[in-house]
């Protein structure tokens, strides 16, 4: 029986960005990494919406940092991936690799 709840492409990007950033994963650097790698403007609101869904599913946790003047006295919300989140990224990766295999038109294409 197929497992439910694989990550969508944007959610996967957000999870990978959070993993890359480690202790500095909050809205701006997350969106910057996705922008750099996908070459498109990312709405911070979409990043937070995805993070909210992921947090509800237990794949990330968050905590508030200190408020700073640069942010008008507002605190940063830092995100961290959970072990189950890491497991889900791995599962999604495996599912994508399985789908990728056996497609001659995509073999050997590196952009």
């Amino acid at each position: 029986m197929p497992k439910q709840g694989h990550l969508g492409d944007f959610e996967l990007m957000v999870m990978l960005a959070v993993m890359r950033l480690r202790d500095n994963a909050y809205g701006i650097p997350i969106s910057r990494i996705i922008e750099q790698e996908s070459c498109r403007e990312v709405a911070l609101g979409s990043v937070y919406a995805a993070l909210e869904r992921l947090e509800a599913r237990g794949y990330v946790t968050s905590h508030l940092g200190k408020p700073t003047a640069e942010r008008g006295g507002r605190a940063k919300r830092y995100f961290r991936i959970t072990p189950s989140g890491q497991g889900m990224v791995r599962e999604t990766q495996q599912a994508l690799i399985r789908l990728w295999r056996g497609l001659p038109e995509l073999e050997g294409v590196h952009s």
Partner: protein, 169 residues
């Protein structure tokens, strides 16, 4: 560091029509990126993308139906009276829409009509409201010294909030 100020209308729209969760973090991120040189147009695009349009449109339609029902005259079975008075419908729609948004933000449905809780007072909610008010006032302030004073007051309130939320073991 010099703090720059994003478009006031966009800030206001974000506050009242933005997402319910992570709003503060999002607003802080937008402010930070704007201070680092992002344009007004970028800020507007981000705010427009962050607004929950479908949800608010649904709320507006519900308010309009409520306004229409409320303005129906007793003899509404007559075709000419079925529409009601457009001005009255519009006024009730706007009032109900504003109240609904206010309820959404204060999270105290039976207690709040104007943003103030009538039955019980939650210190954290009061402080959060005070911070929001100070922040809006700061954005409207033109005197740099007063702006700095507002910033310091907000930071102080925030640090109190963080300290209070830490429970002794």
């Amino acid at each position: 560091m010099k703090l720059s100020y994003p478009p006031r209308l966009a800030v206001w729209l974000l506050k009242y029509f933005g997402p319910e969760t992570n709003l503060e973090a999002l607003a802080g991120d937008l402010q930070e990126a704007f201070s680092q040189g992002k344009s007004n147009a970028w800020y507007w695009r981000q705010v427009v993308a962050a607004i929950a349009w479908r949800k608010h449109l649904r709320l507006l339609i519900r308010s309009a139906i409520f306004g229409w029902l409320l303005t129906l005259p007793p003899d509404f079975r007559e075709k000419s009276h079925f529409v009601g008075r457009p001005l009255h419908i519009a006024i009730i729609t706007i009032i109900w829409f504003v109240i609904s948004i206010d309820r959404k933000k204060t999270q105290s449905l039976p207690c709040s009509l104007t943003g103030r809780e009538l039955i019980k007072s939650d210190p954290d909610a009061d402080r959060a409201r005070m911070i929001e008010t100070l922040h809006l006032d700061m954005l409207q302030e033109t005197d740099p010294e007063l702006r700095t004073a507002y910033e310091q007051a907000i930071i102080k309130l925030k640090s109190n909030q963080t300290r209070d939320s830490i429970q002794p073991i």
